[in-house]
Structures are given as structure tokens and as C-alpha cells.
């Protein structure tokens, strides 16, 4: 019954989205909001029905039989509902409708709201049609098995249980940004007030996407056993492109809101971000590109997603070509000004997204043109992105204190002398500690420059006002400050980790030792153990460095339900980084000997910590009260650098 109920609720949600789209396009915002809200409720209960089928281990539902197992821990029965193609598409629809329902409740009434809900309703109808007709999660089996296949054990992990919800809050969150952008174009309302209304949605979606991507990277780091956290895999690129363009968008929205400039560019970014989200869904789910963690190969679903991308893209770009030329250009400004700096940010981020796009799609183009099958190696992405980002990251400390329209560079640079000196000192220290690793030296210098420069700007804003003034600063200022500090932390962590990582692979008999970077590892043998739904081989390893001694127990697990082995690495954290040990296989022909991979990953926590700070900064800016205040038509265009205090309510 529960699967049929879920299916019925999803069909109901589909009907209601059509109604929302109809009312929205007819300009009836209240009715559209009501239909959208009801549709969201129906879809949420549809998802609940699917989760119930997973909890009850109802193996007559095909999806449950393929992806669950009666012995699976309770938590992963729930998370398993969206750990597969069909379930995750339902989650996609729920989140898209959720954004629409919240917008229906909180947006100021009017034609912009009606049109935005109309577009959102149409997007949701497309998604639900795809779900119902091409990937229904509620299909029954005529002949239910006694037990299920089990969730892919690699996915039985807390980070990965939360990875899809956050990723979709981001990816799919951009659908509502798209909807307001399209509505603004239809209504001819793309301007300062429009930008003010888009900003919270863009900030929230982008911050959630940051968390979603980070959770994926953290999972890859400790679950795959390769020690890396980013592989330039097509699936990763699929999430990184909307992130880059979204980052450009949250910056250009500031210019459009405060100054009325760059409206045409901002609205273009707003529609492109969601188009890139759909492109990502296509790349991940169609199997056109080889990826370490794609869904199963399915060309038919891929073709439908591609059709969806074309429909949405043609609609958006057609609307844009028709309406954008009529948008006002806004007041002029100097190259050295807040606007100029933010445009530079946007140019760099968009070009960076374009180079990732070229590297990701190049194999498809070459295969289509010449039939030659190729792939692009990860050094391409490092070599193109690193120089672009290195130049871009020099700007924020100075740009943060630029005035609008025309800035005076000299006093800004004078204030930053200390930050520059700190950056050079840090570069020198890194050069000594990691001799010869030029990218690490450069990365540390840039990271310290970002952190020290951002703090310099914060101190300027606080001035002599002390703690009271610091608390009076608006949440958007604090958000920017924390995000830029987080970026500095990330850059330091990433460049030191990638360039300073040491690793070796050994094959050891019990009692034998091996050395890496002044650590001595003694292999004491392997013992068998058992978990709730797996068998494991647990190694016992003693690691000694000077007077420090620790025991590590990396495992190799075998999950009989899925017929799959997995690696459980052993990680020991310290202030300087992670000691990381993965257990391989027993060596063929040498009974008792096992292969081990040992690495030291310096400053790895800075990578994830920095990403977390970036997301926190984005959420703080989202929460800023200033974004909740209408921009009136006759409001003066901002001229001064940001107001220090939150305006009185």
C-alpha cells in the first residue's frame, strides 16, 4: 500500500505544480503560492512513504530490494532512500517544491512573485514528469525477493548520508534563483530591488552547495582509502561549475543591488547557474563520462535529462536575448573601484568555470567529431585553475575597502603593508619547511595575505569603536569577513596538503617494519572480526616517531549482501596533520603478508575547516537583516563604502 500511496502523492504533487504554473503565469500570486505549498506537502509525504518502505524493508518495492537489506542499520535504511538514482530524484523534486513553497510564504505579493512561482512550478513539473515517467521510485516487483541487495557499503557513511540533501539544497536551490531571474526578465523588473530579493536565495543555495561538496570531499578522503580529497572527476566538476558561477553571482548581486550596475550580467549568471546544475545532473546520471562514482549507465535517462537541459536553456537564453538589451546600464565607474574589483572577481570566476567546462566536455566533443576516445587528466585542471585563482585571490584584501565608483588605491595599500609583510614571512617559513615546493610557498603566502588583509579591513571598519562597534557591524560584513578568512585557511591547507603529502605503499609480513617521514611502522598481523552486516580483517600496526607511539587498526571489510569489499582507513589526527593508514590485500603467494598504504597528510583539517568557514560566512550574509529591507525606487544609490552599522529597524 505504502508505495502506491507514495506514487499517488507524487502524481498529486505533479498536478498541483501544473496548477501553480498556470496561476503563476496568469499573475495570481496567492493561488500559485497555495498550489505550490500543497504540492510541496504532497511531495514531502511521497518521500516519507518511500522512507517508510525502506524502514519496513518492503522488498516488493523494486528500489528497496535493490538498495536496502533487512540487516542494514536503521539510520542507513533512511539515508538509503536517497542513496540511489530514483530516490535522489524524488529528493530533488521535494527540495525544488520546498523552495517554491517557502517563496510562496515569504515573498512580498505582486507580479514578480506570481511569475517566479509560475516558472518554479514549470521547473518542478518537468522534474516530477521525469521522476514519474522515467525513474519512478515506487515500482513494485511481481516476485519480491526474501532480502534486498543492500546499500552500496561505500555509501553507508554519515558524511554521505547528509551529502545529497545539502548538495541538492544547493544545486536545486539555484532553481528558485533561476525562477526569480526569469520572472524579473518577463516583468522587466531586473534592477536594484530585484537584486535585493534574489540575494538571500543565492546566498543560501551557494552556502548549502559549499557544504554538500565539502561533505563529498570529506567522504572521499576517509572512505575511498586513496588519501586524496579532490580528483577532478567529472562528477566533482559537475558540482564545482555551478559553485564557481554561484560564487560570481553572490558577488555581482551586490553591485546590482547597491549601484544598479551589471544588471544584465547578474541576471545571466542567475539563469546559467541552474543550467549548470542540470548539466551536472546529466553528466552524473547519464554515464557519458567515466567517473569513479557515477550512477549506473543509462543512456535513455541521459537523453531525457539532456532534453530537459535544452528546454530550460533555450527558454532562459531566449528570454534573456529578448529582454536583456532593454536593461539599464547603471552609473559609470572607474576601474579602481568597488564595482571594478567585483567585476574582476566575476571575470576570473567565470573564466575559471569555463576552463573546467572545457576540460570536462572536451572528451565528448572529441568523440563526437573524430570518434577518438580520450579523457583529460587532472593536471590540466591544476595547471589552468591555479594561476587564475592565484591572481584572483590577491584582490579581496584591497577590494574590501574600496569605495564605490572611484577608489583611492594608495591609502588602501598603505594599510595592507603589515598583511603583505606577514604573507612574505609566511612564504619564507614555508620555503624552509617544504623546500622546493613552489606552489606550497605561493599558496601559503596568498592564504596569509587573504586572512591578514581581511582582518585589516575588519579592524578599519571597527575603527576606535571597540567591541560595541564590532557587534554593530551588519551580518553581511561579518559574513564576508568570515568567508574570506575561510578562503585563506582553505588555500593554505590545500596547497600545503597537496604539495607536502608523503605516501608509500608497503607489503609487510607480521613483525616487519617500514619507514616513512621519520615514522616507523611495525605490522603485528591481521585478525578477523564481524560487524552487524559485514565481516572484517583488522590489522594491528604500531607507529613510532620519537617518543610518540600509537596503535592503528585499519580494516578491510566484506559486505556479503552487496558482495562488496571496502576499506576502512585508520586516521590519527595531530595539530600538523593526519597520519593515514589503509589496509590492502593479502599478498598472493606470500601467506601472512599484507599490503599497506601509509601517508601523512599535512594540514588536511584546514582544507575542510576553510570550506566550512566559507559556508558559514555565506549563511551569515544570508541572515543579514539588511537584505530584508526593500530598496525603494528613489533610494539613493550607495556611494560610500558599506555603512558600518545595521540601520535602525
Amino acid at each position: 500500500m505504502i508505495a502506491e500511496l507514495g506514487h499517488l502523492l507524487t502524481v498529486l504533487a505533479f498536478g498541483l505544480t501544473l496548477l501553480a504554473a498556470y496561476h503563476g503565469f496568469s499573475g495570481r500570486d496567492e493561488l500559485a503560492a497555495r498550489a505550490m505549498g500543497l504540492s510541496a506537502v504532497a511531495a514531502i509525504f511521497g518521500l516519507v512513504a518511500l522512507v517508510m518502505a525502506f524502514i519496513r524493508s518492503d522488498f516488493s518495492v523494486e528500489l528497496v530490494a535493490r538498495h536496502s537489506h533487512s540487516l542494514k542499520p536503521f539510520f542507513y535504511k533512511i539515508a538509503g532512500a536517497w542513496g540511489n538514482h530514483e530516490g535522489s530524484m524524488l529528493l530533488w523534486c521535494v527540495i525544488m517544491l520546498g523552495y517554491g513553497a517557502i517563496a510562496g510564504a515569504v515573498m512580498a505579493p505582486g507580479r514578480l512573485k506570481a511569475r517566479a512561482l509560475g516558472v518554479q512550478g514549470a521547473l518542478a513539473a518537468l522534474s516530477l514528469a521525469y521522476l514519474l515517467f522515467a525513474s519512478s521510485p515506487f515500482t513494485r516487483l511481481a516476485d519480491p525477493p526474501l532480502d534486498g541487495n543492500g546499500l552500496n557499503p561505500l555509501l553507508q557513511d554519515p558524511a554521505l548520508a547528509f551529502h545529497p540533501p545539502f548538495l541538492y539544497l544547493g544545486y536545486v536551490g539555484f532553481s528558485f534563483v533561476f525562477s526569480i531571474a526569469a520572472a524579473g526578465l518577463i516583468e522587466g523588473q531586473v534592477g536594484r530591488e530585484w537584486a535585493r530579493r534574489v540575494r538571500p536565495w543565492a546566498l543560501f543555495a551557494w552556502s548549502a552547495l559549499t557544504i554538500g561538496i565539502s561533505l563529498g570531499a570529506i567522504w572521499a578522503y576517509y572512505e575511498l582509502g586513496w588519501g586524496g580529497w579532490w580528483f577532478w572527476d567529472p562528477v566533482e566538476n559537475a558540482s564545482f561549475m555551478p559553485w564557481l558561477v554561484g560564487a560570481a553571482l553572490v558577488h555581482s548581486l551586490i553591485v546590482t543591488q547597491k549601484r544598479g550596475s551589471m544588471a544584465a550580467w547578474t541576471v545571466l549568471l542567475a539563469v546559467l547557474t541552474f543550467c549548470l546544475s542540470i548539466l551536472g545532473a546529466f553528466l552524473v546520471r547519464s554515464g557519458v563520462l567515466t567517473s569513479v562514482h557515477a550512477f549506473a549507465l543509462d543512456p535513455e535517462r541521459g537523453a531525457l535529462l539532456l532534453a530537459g537541459l535544452v528546454i530550460v536553456g533555450v527558454f532562459a537564453l531566449g528570454l534573456y536575448a529578448w529582454r536583456a538589451p532593454k536593461l539599464e546600464a547603471g552609473p559609470v565607474f572607474d576601474p579602481i573601484s568597488r564595482e571594478g574589483a567585483l567585476i574582476l572577481n566575476n571575470l576570473f570566476l567565470s573564466v575559471a568555470a569555463a576552463t573546467v567546462l572545457v576540460g570536462t566536455l572536451y572528451p565528448l566533443v572529441v568523440e563526437a567529431v573524430s570518434g577518438e576516445k580520450i579523457s583529460v587528466g587532472s593536471p590540466y585542471f591544476d595547471m589552468t585553475l591555479a594561476p587564475l585563482m592565484a591572481i584572483l585571490f590577491l584582490a579581496p584584501p584591497a577590494a574590501q575597502s574600496f569605495a564605490w565608483r572611484k577608489a583611492d588605491l594608495t591609502p588602501v595599500l598603505k594599510r595592507l603593508i603589515i598583511a603583505g609583510a606577514l604573507a612574505i614571512a609566511a612564504a619564507g617559513a614555508t620555503f624552509i619547511l617544504l623546500a622546493g615546493k613552489l606552489w606550497a610557498v605561493l599558496g601559503v603566502a596568498i592564504g596569509v595575505w587573504l586572512i591578514a588583509g581581511t582582518i585589516t579591513d575588519l579592524l578599519r571598519r571597527i575603527g576606535g569603536g571597540g567591541v560595541a562597534r564590532a557587534f554593530a557591524l551588519s551580518a553581511s560584513i561579518w559574513g564576508m569577513t568570515i568567508a574570506h578568512i575561510g578562503l585563506g585557511v582553505f588555500v593554505i591547507g590545500a596547497s600545503v596538503e597537496v604539495n607536502g603529502r608523503v605516501e608509500r605503499t608497503f607489503a609487510l609480513m607480521p613483525g616487519e617494519t617500514a619507514e616513512l617521514d621519520n615514522w616507523t611502522f611495525t605490522f603485528n598481523g591481521v585478525q578477523s572480526d564481524e560487524g552487524p552486516n559485514y565481516f572484517s580483517q583488522v590489522a594491528d600496526i604500531t607507529a613510532v616517531k620519537g617518543r610518540r607511539e600509537m596503535q592503528l587498526a585499519p580494516q578491510k571489510r566484506f559486505y556479503p549482501a552487496a558482495g562488496m569489499p571496502t576499506t576502512e582507513v585508520a586516521i590519527r589526527k595531530s595539530l600538523t596533520g593526519d597520519l593515514y593508514v589503509a589496509l590492502g590485500d593479502e599478498v598472493r603467494g606470500r601467506p601472512g603478508a599484507w599490503t599497506l598504504r601509509v601517508s601523512f597528510n599535512p594540514m588536511i583539517d584546514w582544507v575542510f575547516g576553510g570550506a566550512g568557514l566559507i559556508a558559514l560566512g555565506g549563511f551569515m550574509a544570508f541572515a543579514s537583516k539588511r537584505l530584508r529591507q526593500r530598496v525603494e525606487v528613489d533610494d539613493p544609490i550607495t556611494v560610500e563604502p558599506d555603512l558600518v552599522a545595521e540601520p535602525a529597524e
Binding site: 561505500l154 554515464g287 567515466t290 576601474p335 580520450i374 590540466y380 569489499p565 598472493r588
Partner: protein, 156 residues
């Protein structure tokens, strides 16, 4: 006049940046391409030593040998021809005889591949695209599908 000069410097900066990015892309793209080859291609077309390739297929039965240290040697087969591969590191979890695999690396003078990365299937329904294509080219669609859904290798 001011608006026109603003447009001029905007276009200049954007143009310079795009030119710089294009140089970066063209410089690094060509050096970092991996050419996908099936074992049959590798044997029949004698790929020159030093070429960066991705070879897909199945890990040959009884072909896995542990060498010095953690070195692994094995053969990739598409059912018609075999290519020898060596890899220094821990193979992925689902690396096993009869399983789909893609080896990415450099061709050595003896025609074998020194792999820098191995990509295996990551669940029971999935096989790396190149492995699937190589089997399909050599043995047809049915053989490739049969190998994809076979769970014998993993369920030891």
C-alpha cells in the same frame, strides 16, 4: 564619453583574461590527454612507448601477481587480446580477477602499461565505461552485459 571609456577598459580586461586563459588551456590540455585504447587496439596498432593511455577491460583470470614491495602485475583482457599492466600502490577495493577495470598510465617500450591510476567498478551495477566499451568491441553487447552483471569476481 565616460560610459564609452568604461566599456573600453572592461572589454580590454576581459579580452586579456580570456587570452591568458586560452593560452593556459591550450598549453596544458594537449599534454594531459589520455587516449582510450582497448587491448585489441593496443596489440594490433602498436601504440608508441610514452603515450598516455586508458585501457579498459576485465582483469585476466590467474593473471594477478604481487611483485617487489607492493607492486601489482596483472593483465587486462577484452576476451581477444591481453595487455600487461603494472601498478605500484593499493588497487581499488573491487579490483579482482574477472572484474571490470580501467588502467590509466604510460605505455612502456615492451607494450605494457605502467599505471598511475586504476578505476574499478564501485558497485554491482556499474562498470567503468571504457571497460564496457572494450568488451563490447571485442565480444559484442551481450558478452559485455554478461560481464557487467557477473558478481563472481567480487563474491569470493
Amino acid at each position: 564619453m565616460r560610459a564609452r571609456s568604461q566599456r573600453a577598459w572592461l572589454i580590454a580586461i576581459a579580452g586579456a583574461l580570456l587570452a591568458g586563459a586560452a593560452v593556459l588551456v591550450f598549453n596544458s590540455l594537449g599534454d594531459n590527454l589520455n587516449y582510450t585504447r582497448t587491448p585489441t587496439n593496443m596489440v594490433q596498432d602498436s601504440v608508441p612507448a610514452g603515450t598516455r593511455v586508458r585501457v579498459g577491460g576485465l582483469v585476466g583470470v590467474d593473471s594477478i601477481l604481487n611483485g617487489e614491495g607492493a607492486m601489482v602485475h596483472f593483465a587486462i583482457t577484452d576476451g581477444t587480446y591481453d595487455v600487461n599492466v603494472s601498478y605500484d600502490g593499493l588497487p581499488p577495493d573491487l579490483f579482482d580477477e574477472g572484474q571490470g577495470i580501467v588502467a590509466e598510465g604510460v605505455v612502456l617500450p615492451d607494450g605494457s602499461v605502467k599505471a598511475s591510476r586504476l578505476v574499478a567498478r564501485h558497485d554491482e551495477n556499474y562498470m567503468p565505461k571504457e571497460a564496457y566499451d572494450a568488451l563490447k568491441d571485442a565480444g559484442g553487447e551481450d558478452a559485455a552485459r554478461a560481464a557487467m552483471y557477473s558478481r563472481e569476481g567480487a563474491a569470493k
